[in-house]
């Protein structure tokens, strides 16, 4: 075993801000985000990709940051929950809908769900309840029984339809140009 593996250079954009870092090849992307960048809003529930708490968006698509290494995100554009709200005084419509429908309790699984739901509603602007439940099945929530999360997603779709300009969250959606 090599106790100090050689470091690898990565360059990526997170929530619109560019970062370069030297990381061990085995460093999980989630640990990189949480401990190196201080973006602690992305939580860790099971480390094996079942609970969905560590979901972030990579080039606009939801991915499990616990099943990826930081080096695999080289040259990618990521969005985490910290990049969702348009400003300190305003919530993203999906966040607003979760608040209005009591779609969260302890709030630990919530950031991952928000990242899935924002991407989902981008692709499916007016989903049926069955579609919402199928999409949420990739996330475990131990507090809510899901009912209010389902309602929040439906409400979010209405809020977004009423104000489509607010759909795009954070500035991290556009890919980083190749160096």
């Amino acid at each position: 075993m090599s106790p100090t593996p050689a470091l690898v250079s990565v360059r990526l954009r997170v929530n619109g801000r560019e970062y370069t870092a030297e990381v061990p090849p085995r460093l999980l992307l989630s640990d990189f985000l949480r401990y190196r960048l201080g973006l602690t809003g992305t939580h860790v529930g099971c480390e094996h990709g079942v609970c969905g708490a560590r979901t972030i968006q990579l080039d606009g698509a939801p991915v499990r940051s616990c099943l990826m290494l930081a080096v695999q995100a080289d040259r990618a554009a990521l969005t985490t929950v910290e990049g969702l709200a348009p400003g300190p005084d305003r919530l993203h419509p999906v966040q607003e809908a979760f608040r209005l429908e009591h779609g969260l309790q302890c709030g630990f699984c919530t950031p991952g769900i928000l990242m899935t739901v924002t991407a989902f509603l981008h692709e499916h602007p007016s989903p049926s309840e069955a579609e919402i439940r199928r999409e949420l099945a990739g996330h475990l929530c131990r507090c809510t029984g899901y009912q209010n999360i389902v309602r929040a997603v439906r409400r979010a779709s209405l809020l977004l339809a009423a104000d489509p300009g607010r759909a795009t969250a954070g500035a991290g959606r556009d890919p980083v140009s190749s160096p």
Binding site: P3, T4, P24, R26, L27, D31, R34, Y35, G38, L39, T40, G41, T42, H43, V44, G45, C46, E47, H48, V50, C51, A53, T80, V81, E82, L84, A85, L91, Q95, F98, R99, L100, H102, L104, Q105, C106, G107, F108, C109, T110, P111, L114, I132, R133, R134, L136, A137, G138, H139, L140, C141, R142, C143, T144, G145, Y146, Q147, N148, I149, V150
Partner: protein, 789 residues
């Protein structure tokens, strides 16, 4: 404000990813810990060879039992009981013997978690495997391997209790019905696992610990004692906690001692974060009982007496005493008039992780047994189960009703209020029971198997000893509230604020609530037993009442009117019928603190306008500065919430799959402070109840190896499995506390197994299937169908 469905104060922060959970706390220079855990369910510990681990670059400390010395004592027995004759608790690190897979053997601290895990792999332990026992009934039988060499027959406790004269009643019975009922092991499994971060400042001597616990104050006082520190130099913080469900009420988990110890030893902050495998093998679990019940019944289906003997599997240790089986025994009678009752339980050690309360805490087991008895009677007498319930309910005019047994808190099991018959009718009506039998018959003609099941329960909530609160109005007009217990998703930041807002006539959003921080409030017990709103809520209410009284008194002096002519409206005290003659709470807070210096223009204006020439001291004797107060509430005994759930299911006899078509909840938690929050608690509880009935089961093989150590194996329900939960409320206020509230946190989880057992049995009645166990997987339902034919 009380009763208002307002959105939660805590949500914007959590939704932005600005929650602060334990693993989000990263003091400068923090080191990371990992645990070496036993791979054997039972083994003698030989030598531990850690030199290679210690030599690994980046490793700061490798700790074994020998290094801990006197600190490596068995943990405290939190709740002793005279019948718990052979209590055994775990040491922080195993000494001589390990008794379950996952028990901590060594503790490594390194520069990062990756290196710490590498080092754990380099430690070589000489284990000598010993015989294993995992089945609680076998554990009590002759010749079984002993989990603790000095505990005969693995029996930790035997507790017989009796009410009335069951023997006489059995002699009078028209029917005597017997059944063996089994409920398997499960666990709380919050999505945030456990975690501990500690830092020690040698300059101030302060040890500060962040831990994902439900009881920071007992941990603070315990750590002070263990480390020989003054209590005021130990600070324990449970920041945002990502779900608890009882799992985090256990104390001390080994890491809660090892992390602070390593911090003080190394002079650097240390963090340990539990991973999911660790959680599923080494965090405390629950359920797990085998009941042999017999009922004496008269010709009309009235229960004359009940006898129950049950075995409670406590795992390898009894850190939480025998609270869980005591709750099962005392809450088993539920909402029924049971004048003759004999219950005895035996607590068995097995080579599995220890048992302590998990949401419901012994009640799902009890409700499952009692409601199965109702089903048996219905079957025997050819009655509707609902009718058997009606014939046995305690009536609304029979409160207070005393079950006759001593409850878990040492107080009486005395139901304070409720209306069980009305609750059942509400649930049945909402579920459309009146037309269900016709619908069921029609479905059966089409080859479909529909069934209805119900489950009633009574839950002792809001137990003592007490909680306290501090309420302070700041010059800005914002109100600050601190209380000693914790929050792990219940929305205390909102419901507690609503209680204050009601009393001080301000907005709930103007109230900031802090829980779980011993720096902010130093007295109290913790969040368990569905007690937070009852105990802290009433303490906050008491403190807010004093603040209100002081605000009125100050205003009366300043405005020179009688307090009777004043009213509190919109965060200000005003003279009735005299518009403009008013003072804001913020201005009163400024005046209440007669300091020499005024900060800012508003305070200066207030000081000039309000402070009059005086003759004596600014504070009269016995008077305190500030617009603030402390309040405490100690309940006389538990307040008993209740409810009735009704499920309509369809069972596919070919696949064994159960589909929930309707799930209706009638619930009574007394006065509701925020019905939206109440419903959220119930919905989440019901999901756990359904999980415990159909999906979640902790499995050990015969060698004591846990087979459910990932979320691929321990199946918690997703949004695909949990249906819309329909809730109807009945409010019978508690006469025991000023707010009239009862607890609601655990309620939803209690009747799930009982409800689904009855519903599945009802659906499969044409096939002759009887349900005597929980949970039920599709495979097991298939087996039961085959066995019945």
């Amino acid at each position: 404000m009380i009763g208002a469905r307002i959105p939660r104060n805590e949500d914007p922060r959590l939704l932005r990813g600005l929650g602060c959970f334990v693993d989000d706390v990263n003091p400068a220079g923090v080191l990371h810990a990992a645990c070496l855990r036993s791979p054997h369910a039972h083994a003698r510990l030989g030598s531990i060879e850690a030199s290679r681990a210690r030599a690994l670059p980046g490793v700061q400390l490798v700790v074994t039992a020998a290094d801990l010395g006197e600190l490596n004592e068995p943990g405290p027995l939190l709740i002793p009981h005279p019948t718990l004759t052979h209590p055994r608790t775990q040491r922080p690190l195993a000494l001589d013997e390990v008794r379950y897979v996952g028990e901590t053997v060594a503790f490594v601290v390194a520069d990062d978690r990756y290196v710490a895990e590498d080092a754990v792999d380099l430690i070589v332990v000489d284990y000598e495997p010993l015989p294993v026992v995992t089945d609680a009934e076998r554990a009590l039988s002759a010749g079984a391997p002993l989990v603790h060499g000095n505990v005969p027959a693995n029996r930790a406790a035997r507790f017989p209790q009796r009410v009335g004269d069951p023997d006489h009643a059995f002699r009078q019975a028209a029917h005597v019905l017997r059944e063996r009922l089994v409920i398997e092991r499960s666990c709380g499994s919050p999505i945030e696992g456990r975690g501990v971060v500690a830092e020690h400042d040698p300059r101030t001597g302060v040890l500060r610990v962040w831990t994902s616990t439900q009881a920071p104050l007992p941990i603070k006082n315990g750590l002070a004692r263990m480390f020989g520190l003054p209590e005021f130099q130990v600070e324990v913080i449970a920041p945002d906690v990502g779900g608890g469900f009882g799992t985090k009420i256990m104390l001390f988990y080994p890491e809660e001692i090892l992390v602070p110890w390593a911090t003080m030893r190394l002079g650097r902050p240390v963090k340990w974060t539990e991973d999911r495998r660790e959680h599923l093998i080494a965090a405390n679990q629950e359920r797990g009982q085998i009941h042999d019940v017999e009922a004496a019944v008269d010709g009309d289906g009235r229960i004359l007496a009940l006898r129950d003997h049950f075995i409670h599997d406590t795992g390898a240790y009894t850190p939480y005493g025998i609270v869980v089986p005591i709750i099962t025994a005392t809450q088993l009678p539920g909402p029924y008039r049971l004048r003759n009752y004999e219950v005895e339980f035996e607590v068995a050690y097995t080579n599995k992780v220890a048992v302590s309360p998990y949401r419901g805490a012994g009640r799902p087991h009890g409700a499952f047994v009692m409601e199965r008895v109702i089903g048996l009677i219905a079957h025997q007498l050819g009655l509707e189960p609902a009718e058997v319930r009606r014939r046995n309910f305690i009536q609304p005019d029979e409160f207070p009703w005393d079950v006759g047994l001593t409850f878990q808190d040492g107080g009486p099991t005395r139901y304070d209020s409720g209306n069980y018959p009305a609750g059942l009718e509400m649930a049945l009506e909402h579920a459309g029971f009146a037309t269900f039998r016709a619908r069921q018959a029609e479905a059966r003609n089409q080859g479909r198997y529909l069934g209805v099941g119900m489950g009633c329960y009574v839950e002792g909530t809001g137990i003592g000893p007490y909680e306290g609160a501090h309420v302070r109005v700041e010059p800005s007009g914002r109100v600050f509230v601190a209380t000693g217990l914790t929050t792990q998703g219940q929305g205390h930041g909102t419901t507690f604020a609503q209680i204050v807002a009601e009393t001080l006539a301000c907005e709930a959003s103007a109230v900031t609530v802090v829980t779980g921080d011993t720096r902010k409030f130093n007295w109290g017990a913790g969040t368990y037993a569905s007690r937070a709103l009852v105990t802290s809520g009433n303490a906050i209410h008491a403190a807010a009442q004093q603040v209100r009284a002081k605000a009125l008194r100050l205003a009366s002096e300043l405005l020179e009117v009688s307090p009777a002519d004043l009213e509190l409206v919109d965060g200000r005290v005003r003279v009735k019928g005299a518009p403009g003659k008013e003072l804001t709470l913020g201005a009163l807070a400024t005046v209440a603190n007669p300091i020499r210096y005024a900060y800012g223009k508003e305070a200066a204006d207030a000081a000039l306008r309000l402070v009059k020439p005086r003759a004596g001291a600014v504070l009269a004797e016995g008077e305190a500065p500030g617009l603030e107060a402390f309040g405490y509430y100690a309940p006389p005994h538990s307040t008993f919430a209740s409810g009735c759930h009704v499920a309509i299911v369809e069972v596919d006899p070919v696949t064994g799959n159960v589909t929930l078509l309707r799930y209706v909840v009638q619930h009574d938690c007394g006065t509701m402070v925020n019905p939206t929050v109440v419903e959220g608690q119930i919905q989440g509880g019901v999901a756990q109840g359904i999980g415990g009935a159909l999906y979640e089961k902790i499995v050990y093989d015969e060698a004591g190896q846990p087979l459910t150590s990932t979320y691929m194996d321990f199946l918690m329900p997703t949004a695909m499995e949990i249906p819309e939960i329909e809730i109807v409320h009945l409010e019978t206020p508690s006469p025991l506390n000023p707010l009239g509230i009862k607890g609601v946190g655990e309620a939803g989880a209690i009747p799930g197994p009982a409800v689904l057992a009855e519903a599945i049995e009802d659906a499969l009645r044409p096939l002759g299937v009887r349900i005597r166990e929980m949970p039920l997987s599709p495979n097991r339902i298939r087996e039961l169908i085959e066995q019945a034919q």
